[in-house]
Amino acid sequence: MTKRKQSAAEALELVKSGDTILVGGFGLIGAPLTLIDELTKKDVAGLTIVSNNLGESGKGLGILLNQGKIKKGIGSYFTSNRDVGDKYQAGEIELELLPQGTLAESIRAGGAGLGGYYTTTGVGTALAEGKEEREIDGVPYILEKAIRADVALIRAHKADTLGNLVYYKTARNFNPLMATAAKTVIVEVDEIVEPGELNPEEVVTPHLFVDAIIEAKQVLTKEGVVSV
């Protein structure tokens, strides 16, 4: 068996309008740029995108935003793309802002089959409004719900054809979490290797989480995003 697909288009076949999609990356670092690029070419609308940021202005998820394909964004730092504010002012997008640790933890909880969890982060702030507060052993917490999605688009460094993944430096970020929390998980990597080539002690994402793998064609370099 191989999970390798021949193109980003083939890998994205299952993605449809109205889907909730987890997208890896911290800004453009560790973002699945090839899959995002393909998504901008696909005829879909009304997407809910869960990602730390919505790319940068005109880059990465920023293109999808400007195309009007995003109905709602769930993330922690939209400030990195000034277009998000404009869209929001114009009433063209819903936004849900979460502390970065809560965003990460909620996605992990989704992947781990949990319903929600009590966190100290945000207690007593504007971001706790409407959320249940409760004391446990004398400490106040708020309830945050798990996040699950239809699709995850993630970026790893290497995959074997079974779908085991390893990551590269700070491009790891949200990707391993997102690999656990969607019905369909699509990965782009720098290199696809044979089973046995990755050390079992070093695999970060075991293959049972992964559905499809492609080689990255859009890569972040010192000079910016380039096609390879």
Binding site: F26, G27, I29, G30, N52, S76, Y77, F78, T79, S80, V84, G85, Y88, Q89, L95, L97, L98, P99, Q100, G101, T102, L103, A104, E105, I107, R108, T119, T120, T121, G122, V123, G124, T125, A126, L127, Y167, Y168, K169, T170, A171, R172, N173, F174, N175, P176, L177, V204, L220, T221, K222
Partner: protein, 213 residues
């Protein structure tokens, strides 16, 4: 003081905070003045944590820049000896779980109990929070760095924050170009030091919050 550039002021504050850091310890540096603190740390046993997934941040030479190795401000960094990478939930588990010894953060406002506002301005869209709230609840010590006043000269050390607060937790110390304050156990500001060239009169004049002299 008036002859100092903004950059000089920032460096002076960063240098002063660095003196508080005695290893072994792990420290998370925020964006802005906090990032400059790394230049002034004298202890080798200080390990820098960045919430996007690395313990063991160092600076990097221009020729060694790797676009996939950045800090929380998305600036290129290097990898220290003995470093470790991890994912975002592991990184924030470290922060929230109390495993990071100190966070150095910027602030827009600080109230007289040491509660800070540093993520949003009323009337503008609330578009980004990042890791600020997590660091506030989780870091063992929180040190705040900021200029003493806003661009228009109004105080940032206030009786009450008028901007949305980041956490109900009081920070531990506040560093400006004029003074160093600590927050006492009963949550009062106490002036511990005047910065070079500053006078107590100037600090009183430019501080709205009550403080113990």
């Amino acid at each position: 003081m008036t002859t100092m550039t903004k950059q000089e002021m920032q460096h002076m504050i960063a240098e002063r905070v660095a003196k508080e850091l005695k290893g072994p310890m792990s420290v998370n540096l925020g964006i802005g003045i906090p990032t400059l603190v790394a230049e002034y740390m004298e202890d080798d046993d200080i390990y820098l944590h960045t919430e996007n997934g690395l313990l063991g941040v160092t600076d990097v030479e221009e020729e060694d820049i790797d676009p996939n190795l950045v800090n929380a401000g998305k600036l290129p960094v290097g990898e220290a000896v003995g470093a470790a990478y991890f994912n975002s939930s592991e990184s924030f588990a470290m922060i929230r779980g109390g495993h990071v010894d100190a966070a150095i953060l910027g602030a827009l406002q600080v109230d007289e109990r040491g509660v800070i506002a540093n993520w949003a301005v009323p009337g503008k869209n609330i578009m980004g929070v990042g890791g600020a709230m997590d660091l506030l609840v989780g870091a063992k010590k929180v040190y705040v760095t900021m200029t003493h006043t806003s661009k228009d000269g109004s105080p940032k050390l206030l009786k009450e924050c008028t901007y949305p607060i980041t956490s109900t937790r009081s920070v531990d110390m506040i560093f400006t170009e004029l003074a160093v304050f600590e927050v006492t156990e009963d949550k009062q500001l106490r002036l511990v030091e005047l910065m070079p060239g500053a006078t107590i009169e100037e600090v009183r004049e430019k501080t709205e919050a009550a403080f113990i002299e």
